[in-house]
Symmetry: C2
Subunit: 344 residues, 2 copies
Amino acid sequence: MIEHVRVVITTPLEEELVSTVAGIDDRLDVVYPADLMAATRYPSDHPFPPLDAPGSAERWESLLDEAEILFDFGPLDLAPTLARRPKLRWIQATSAGVGRFAERIGLLDSDVVVTTASGVHARPLAEFAMLAMLLFGKDTLRLQREQQERHWERHAGEEIRGKVVCVVGLGKIGREVARLAHAFDARVTGVVRETRGRSARELGVDVLGTPDDLDALLADADVVVLATPHTGDTHRLLDARRIALLKPTAIVVNIARGDVVDEPALADALAAGRLRGAALDVFQEEPLPAESPLWGLPNVLVSPHSASTVAAENERIVELFGENLRRYLAGTPLLNVLDKGLLY
Amino acid sequence: MIEHVRVVITTPLEEELVSTVAGIDDRLDVVYPADLMAATRYPSDHPFPPLDAPGSAERWESLLDEAEILFDFGPLDLAPTLARRPKLRWIQATSAGVGRFAERIGLLDSDVVVTTASGVHARPLAEFAMLAMLLFGKDTLRLQREQQERHWERHAGEEIRGKVVCVVGLGKIGREVARLAHAFDARVTGVVRETRGRSARELGVDVLGTPDDLDALLADADVVVLATPHTGDTHRLLDARRIALLKPTAIVVNIARGDVVDEPALADALAAGRLRGAALDVFQEEPLPAESPLWGLPNVLVSPHSASTVAAENERIVELFGENLRRYLAGTPLLNVLDKGLLY
């Protein structure tokens, strides 16, 4: 029987939300070292705590020595010290795509459970995809240039209705894109790693394919939305060869990870007008280097990895964390457990 | 019994669509004077035919002398000649908001029936409203300025979920805005001239009000979508006093008519930051004069009265016209008849 559980919150969190976590169960002993946190740059920002103040690294060391549960990964290199931190059992992440990060910091070989924030960002990311479809469909970037020149030129736009939207990856984000695209009467095709007996209908798409179908589905798409985790299988999935398969009128939306795309090849295709446009929230290197050609392309919307971030995000993550804490204390399976083989 | 009906198409139309109209019934005698048409600037453009070529005015005169039905109003001043054109019975317009135009050309006092293209533009206009909500909700205009400066600055955006969207005018356009906003989980309030026993639910909104409720509903709104016809009642409906009622974070979308708003007052509020932003497809004077401050405001999207125009528009208008022709020949009520009292 669990009597006492030390939870350490390692990322900036609103006072009320810290209280919410602490109030979930009497057995929780919640530590929030406010003075160690980095300043937030925007609501629900999750910066790593700085380690340069005198004594801060030592304080984090001792906080983590006593922790059984972490909310966010914290500033320390965890992997090498896991052996002397047998108490640490579970880390609740504040983002969804943490597989590669968990791998990099050596958590995959440990017994520490990682739960992701999968689902929390599905709506804002799906909204970003819809924004991209409407923005390019209505030629808004050109409109804005004409506005700067005070030039009135009527034109005919497009509707989403009847467009083929290919969603690569049908996790919570991809399924939410499919749902919203359907509200606009798009035809949605979806690609999953394995159908595992699931039907297109179950996953909310009109046509369901596996990686074997990807080339054909890409060639047929008016909009390609990348919403897949970054794994060995999806690394450079949209490479130069596949970019060449796309229609010249196609739009690419990347809300996955920069490494899912061959970025230079994508930039070349966009610069050459071999694609209509791209809305990119993620990049191979972030912040996107100043010398990247993507910044200057008139048919590209660069979003600074913020499409997933909404002011209300912390509230939703704490809701998820709270549910998981209740499950943890009850000994029932946690939600959103990172599959250390699949990396999502 | 109708034996022979002369239909004159007075606006550019694709050859196949002219054939579609002609093929609807053997009794139709469809005239399409292709050589008299103005060049189209974009798909489904409906420019007035030019009258400056030698003989063109005379040719239009004689074409209209024989017409029983017109597709679009044509280039001539109809009203003064209606007395000597008793054959003319019905004009199918190619746009929805033609009440004021019909008034200006003197059709309100005649027996000529005018049917509007109401419904054809509902989807693209509703999409424009959704584009506006997403664009401002995600601070995209600022993002684009930062992109030009190659400046990476993470930020927290907003979701449409939970926002209060006030739709003024619940015709086909307004109801389509409500439907799409609901797909994003907005709370939708709606204003109609008279409820006429209709419920909020029937009209697809969460709260239904009449002009008496307008001030309160505006004050409560995060987004105001103007989708009302321009009539005596709606002239300058969003005036300086009502603009002052809006939240400083509110967004105004005008897909109605420029005269529904006090444009200088709106520009002032936007310039002073008393509103978050505006997406405007219609203006008091069109084309928007070069000296209008709206062009230069960083929180305004100027659209050149093209949000309703999609490439597939002519197809849909012809579909509607075809249905109306069948009804006309069968002697059953036409769809979309302009109410000459209400002006819509």
